[in-house]
């Protein structure tokens, strides 16, 4: 029923956009990579909507929240703080190597040992299996960004990757249920992202940077 090849292509490109969002040291380019990923996930939801028309509503909402509002918010606050990311804990070269290792490990392991993770038989087959592996990989990359980046805006981009990963697994694991669209819409984190960016802008006003290492007033 589903266009398997299209689903797998869109899904696998999500890994590339995640890497670009994490590794790009220019925050605007990282936002662009995130925006492309948001469009990809909208495309994926639309592809699944063939079998469940309720998903069209989620695709429309995701387009607005993920691909329009979130990038707009990110660009708006990046405009105030400057495009260049605060130097990360790990240098560019080692970070690319580390990201590649995370990618290979999480994709390889989840794809190979999908039975430990897949809640249904369908999820262990074809495009569903690929999507589950991609989802875990994007989730791992999002966590990596949050843990390894000193720039507060980059950690927000990491958070957005986590959300996309969860939504990819949601649409792949239960595409035929009517409630799935509602679940997807209800769990959009755009308000949290807006609030985090608002607080980060306040921090920048106070300490002149978005470097989380400079946030050192509170210890233990």
């Amino acid at each position: 029923m589903y266009n398997v090849r299209l689903i797998e292509t869109l899904s696998l490109i999500m890994i590339v956009t995640s890497m670009a969002a994490v590794e790009s040291q220019n925050l605007k380019r990282a936002t662009t990579a995130y925006c492309i990923q948001a469009l990809l996930i909208c495309g994926l939801i639309l592809t699944f909507a063939v079998g469940n028309p309720a998903l069209y509503a989620w695709a429309a909402v995701a387009l607005v929240t993920k691909a329009v509002i979130t990038p707009w918010l990110l660009l708006h606050y990046i405009g105030k703080t400057g495009e260049k990311e605060v130097r990360a804990i790990i240098g560019f070269g080692p970070s690319v190597l580390l990201v590649s290792a995370v990618l290979i490990a999480s994709y390889g392991l989840t794809h190979r040992y999908v039975h430990f993770l897949a809640p249904t038989v369908q999820a262990t087959e074809g495009a569903f299996r690929t999507n589950l592996a991609v989802s875990m990989t994007v989730f791992a990359l999002g966590l990596y960004a949050i843990l390894s980046r000193r720039d507060a805006i980059k950690t927000v981009i990491g958070l957005c990757l986590l959300e996309n990963a969860i939504h990819l697994s949601l649409v792949s694991l239960a595409p035929e249920l009517r409630e799935t669209a509602l679940v997807g819409i209800a769990t959009e984190v755009v308000i949290t992202v807006a609030m985090l960016l608002y607080v980060i802008a306040g921090i920048r006003e106070q300490i002149g940077t978005t470097d989380t290492f400079e946030m050192s007033e509170l210890h233990w």
Binding site: P119, T120, L159, L162, T187, V189, T192, M215, W220
Partner: protein, 518 residues
């Protein structure tokens, strides 16, 4: 348990929500309206919660909106605790939010007009925060449980950043980021659970994929490996929100930097709401015996949390951070109770653990709210000073606050004749009955550490005359409207301590839900 359709659970969510929407514009129009609406919202929630509790005590489970909202005895207990503490903080907020040092701190950072806007926002967000906590404890929908818990983070994020200075913003950033990342794990767990139940979901009139009660019916079909993964995600996700170690680093910062009324809500009830969410989601799986290692893991986490919180509590000089670490430690006791309920699931040992955990949940809500309100009074009567090393000799100048502080401090340390003694004793007995001697030893040791930490704090703040700034500042005790809510909460600590059987009708059915003993 018979389910009775009722509008009561819906009303408990809707009334404060409507007032939250009205609060901002009305408080902007007239400044005194903000605290009045806050009081109305919390007061109405408490009245409705008492009515809900009456139904729960009589063995009825109320449901609204086609079982989307469901209030059993466990929900009713949490809702009562949340609205009770919210009412105390709403009364306290009347004088507290008008204190000059507080207003100076805000206007110093923002200016007069922004201060007015921020105060209006404070009351609107306080009511929204209350609504989200009540909603989380009443929803029967697994996804809405996630949404309500996340919404409570959103509603309280700006309250943590209320002063909008370097410290509060830093705390708010950590609070929002760590809790959202943590809760993302819970969402992943919810999605996996939802998808796992999908094959067993029948459309019309059958099992519905998002209702917790319906998921519990099909949980037996979920493969144990996947179930353990889901449970792990729930423990990380809701455990982060609850402040369970090692997911707790946001807690001392947020609880210490927020205004004291919000600290009382965060420490007094919000972390309990997260414990409720964890218990409610774990209950979906618990009829299956294969999950008893999960309970043991929870007990290990609880012991680690207790001990870490207790040790860190001793190392603090900042009074509010000390209270925050004490909350980490006391959450450990509550998780110990939940874990013991799981270990002895379906038996009297499990019931005793669940009973002790819920009793301590209720007691900690009362004690910690009292302590944060007392410390709030000290800080602002002392022009913002909150370092114990800079305070001293306040016993004579703030006798009422001192009495409240010591009642709550001894209660939380598990000293007789206060309420904390009974809940800790119940937990010790449950641990002994489960033959978990190491957990019992750590629980007793942590109680001793807590007592030492509070005696040290009490001595430095109230008696130690030598190094106090109190000698230089003209200090008056807390005004009546601040003393009354502290007094009511402290009096409850004493009354429950002297007559613990008073709360038995509330705790017994809730513990039966938790340990599934019927």
């Amino acid at each position: 348990m018979p389910e009775v359709p009722s509008l009561l659970p819906l009303a408990i969510c809707v009334v404060p929500a409507v007032l939250a929407i009205l609060a901002y514009p009305l408080a902007r129009l007239s400044r005194p309206l903000g605290p009045v609406l806050n009081l109305l919202g919390a007061g109405a929630a408490l009245v409705l919660s008492v009515l809900l509790m009456v139904h729960a005590v009589q063995g009825r489970v109320l449901v609204s909106l086609s079982r989307e909202l469901r209030a059993d005895a466990l929900s009713a207990l949490l809702v009562l605790a949340i609205s009770g503490v919210a009412l105390a903080t709403a009364i306290y907020a009347f004088p507290y939010m008008r204190l000059q040092p507080l207003l100076d701190r805000v206007s110093h950072a923002a200016g007069e007009d922004v201060t007015r806007r921020r105060l209006a926002g404070f009351y609107a967000l306080s009511l929204a925060f209350l609504t989200t906590m009540l909603w989380a404890c009443l929803t029967n929908n697994i996804i809405m449980l996630y949404v309500a818990v996340e919404a409570s983070t959103i509603a309280s994020g700006l309250l943590v950043a209320f002063y909008w200075d370097r410290r509060s913003l830093e705390a708010a950033y950590k609070y929002l980021l760590l809790l959202t990342v943590g809760i993302a794990f819970a969402l992943f767990g919810c999605v996996l659970l939802y998808a796992s139940a999908a094959p067993y979901i029948s459309g019309e009139g059958g099992v519905r994929g998002m209702l917790i009660t319906d998921l519990a019916q099909v949980a037996v079909h979920i493969r144990p490996g996947i179930a353990l993964l889901i449970i792990s995600f729930f423990i990380v996700g809701f455990g982060t929100k609850a402040g369970i170690a090692p997911f707790h680093p946001w807690l001392p910062d947020a609880h210490a930097e927020a205004p004291s009324t919000i600290s009382a809500l965060l420490s007094g009830v919000m972390i309990k709401m997260a414990i409720y969410a964890l218990a409610r989601t774990l209950l979906i799986f618990f009829p299956v015996a294969a999950y008893s290692p999960v309970s043991l893991f929870l007990i290990v986490l609880a012991a680690f949390t207790m001990l870490l919180g207790g040790v860190m509590c001793l190392a603090q000089d900042d009074l509010k951070r000390m209270l925050a670490y004490s909350s980490v430690s006391q959450i450990g006791y509550i998780v110990l109770g939940i874990g013991l309920a799981g270990v002895g699931f379906g038996h009297s040992a499990g019931y005793l653990g669940g009973y002790g955990g819920l009793f301590h949940l209720l007691n900690h809500a009362l004690c910690k709210a009292t302590l944060f309100l007392a410390v709030g009074a000290i800080i602002y009567c002392m022009a913002g000073t909150r370092r114990m090393s800079e305070l001293g000799g306040l016993a004579r100048r703030m006798p009422v606050t001192a009495v409240m502080f010591f009642i709550a401090a001894f209660a939380i340390s598990g000293m007789p004749p206060f309420n904390g003694f009974w809940s800790k004793l119940t937990l010790y007995l449950a641990a002994a009955k489960a033959e978990l001697w190491w957990a019992l030893a750590i629980a007793v040791l942590t109680s001793v550490l807590t007592l030492i930490a509070f005696i040290r704090a009490g001595y430095l703040v109230f008696w130690n005359d030598g190094n106090g700034q109190a000698n230089e500042i003209e200090v008056r005790d807390a005004p009546l409207a601040m003393a009354i809510p502290m007094g009511i909460l402290a009096a409850l600590c004493v009354v429950i301590g002297l007559y613990p059987q008073l709360v038995h009708p509330l705790l017994d059915p809730a513990a039966r839900v938790l340990a599934s003993v019927f």
